[in-house]
């Protein structure tokens, strides 16, 4: 009897969990479509309108992405603390250059080795 109740509980929990997961996934897709629509609408209206909490807008603290050198610094601090410690010791123009190169290439490995080389090897 107890086993039956337990089984029912787990079944209903699994179903609820599944529905919740589906809802989350659906919601995320909706956010993405809203972002795409906002991009398209800007060509017609000249205005970009999207909820500021959208996970498809780059924000330094969201983990969603990196759009400026501050965002890049926050990203390093969160994801690569060792590299961050070295990065913040570089002068700002060098940091900007490394950030811009990362934006063009998307090569984080090269950014890391450049930071290290600029601080130690090239001196």
């Amino acid at each position: 009897m107890k086993n039956k109740q337990m089984r029912r509980f787990f079944q209903s929990a699994a179903i609820t969990g599944g529905v919740l997961c589906a809802a989350v996934a659906q919601s995320a897709t909706t956010d993405y479509l809203e972002a795409v629509r906002a991009e398209l609408a800007e060509f017609e209206t000249g205005k970009f309108t999207l909820a500021p909490e959208s996970p498809w807008i780059s924000r330094a603290d969201s983990g969603a992405g990196i759009a400026d050198v501050e965002g890049f610094t926050a990203f390093l601090r969160r994801e690569l603390p060792g590299t961050y410690i070295l990065f913040v010791r570089l002068p700002r123009p060098t940091r900007v250059k490394i950030f811009e190169e990362y934006i063009n290439t998307g090569d984080l490995g090269k950014a890391r080795s450049d930071i290290y080389n600029l601080l130690y090897r090239d001196r």
Binding site: E39, L40, F48, I57, S58, G65, T105, G106, K110
Partner: protein
């Protein structure tokens, strides 16, 4: 006899699926007289046709003599597909493109080797000809049959199972297949799409799947509206967001009867900051696609560590004998 026919049919099915996978990860090698491999970077005001040609140039890796997505141990490109019921599958692939032909006959050759998934052990060599009227030659090594099969060029709208990219999207569509119009210029504002369930997660072949790419936020893009010339086609027009400097097409949105039906996002990266002195010397870091009516998603990811270009390699590498040497 029946068994032979069955095995032939199975081979055909496998090859068709293989063709589709390649479409999803392909370097496009289709020829176009109007888009020479030495196409210059435009200066001043650019026409819509010129933008379309430049996009074609970037997508065909014409900035390189040859371009490879190598295999380093188990690291290589991976194509992940997610069906609406939440099932995901993946395929690992190694690819080599050769643009360096000057015999006046061959435009480019493209070799793909599959290392995981249902197509494991298979290989494909695509030959593209300078003569635009001549269709591409597809040669597929089928390990289960231990034979090479030759196929004609696939249909533009052909796609496979879970993958949402068509051959037209990545290999076959040429600028002259559409009419182009620039609808504006603006800053790109949002991050590129990903399959959220696997974003940042551990995945075979790439160690970790990337997070959504937001590096392109703030870059100036053209809105390029391309209306198909094909009748009764699966889309009426598409709008691409094209970088005004590099001609990388970050996003393409497809419309049918005024309704958005499909989106393809592409994360691009320069091979190195000073590569070739050509801002179009780019490679795909990932492709993401979603079909809005079915909800199917595909995500092809290429790790930068296995990208090589302008490497010294004999032409004979792009030949039937390489296919025959493949082991399952």
């Amino acid at each position: 006899m029946g068994q032979v026919m069955d095995s032939k049919r199975a081979g055909g099915r496998i090859a068709a699926r293989l063709l589709s996978i390649i479409g999803a990860l392909a370097f496009s090698t289709a020829a176009l007289p109007g888009v020479p491999k030495d196409l210059r970077i435009p200066t001043g005001e650019v026409s819509a046709e010129e933008v379309a040609k430049q996009v074609y140039f970037a997508n065909h890796f014409y900035a390189f003599k040859n371009f490879s997505i190598e295999r380093s141990g188990d690291t290589m490109a991976v194509l992940v597909t997610r069906t609406p019921d939440g099932r995901t599958s993946y395929t690992g692939v190694e690819r080599h493109l050769n643009n360096e032909y000057d015999d006046g006959e061959i435009q480019a050759r493209d070799l793909a080797i599959f290392h995981s998934g249902q197509s494991r052990g298979m290989g494909m060599l695509v030959t593209d000809y300078v003569d635009d009227a001549k269709s591409q030659n597809y040669m597929v090594w089928l390990p289960s049959l231990r034979k090479i099969r030759r196929f004609a060029e696939p249909a533009h709208d052909e796609m496979w199972g879970g993958a949402v990219f068509t051959f037209g999207d990545v290999t076959l569509r040429k600028p002259q297949h559409e009419e182009h119009e620039i609808i504006g210029k603006k800053r790109f504002r949002t991050c590129l799409g990903v399959i959220e369930e696997v974003e940042g997660r551990t995945m075979r072949h790439v160690d970790k799947m990337p997070k959504r790419a937001c590096r392109h936020v703030g870059k100036e893009v053209y809105g390029l509206k391309s209306t198909t010339k094909f009748e009764n086609w699966w889309y009426d027009y598409r709008i691409s967001f094209v970088d005004t400097r590099t001609f990388a097409d970050y996003r393409t949105v497809y419309f049918k009867d005024g309704k958005m039906i499909k989106i393809i996002d592409r994360d691009w990266g320069l091979v190195s900051d000073s590569a070739e002195g050509d801002q179009r010397a780019l490679f795909w870091k990932y492709w993401y696609g979603v079909e809005l009516d079915s909800g199917r998603e595909s995500w092809a990811v290429i790790p930068q560590s296995v990208v090589e270009f302008d490497r010294e390699r004999r032409d004979s590498f792009w030949s039937e004998s390489t296919l025959r040497r493949l082991k399952r």
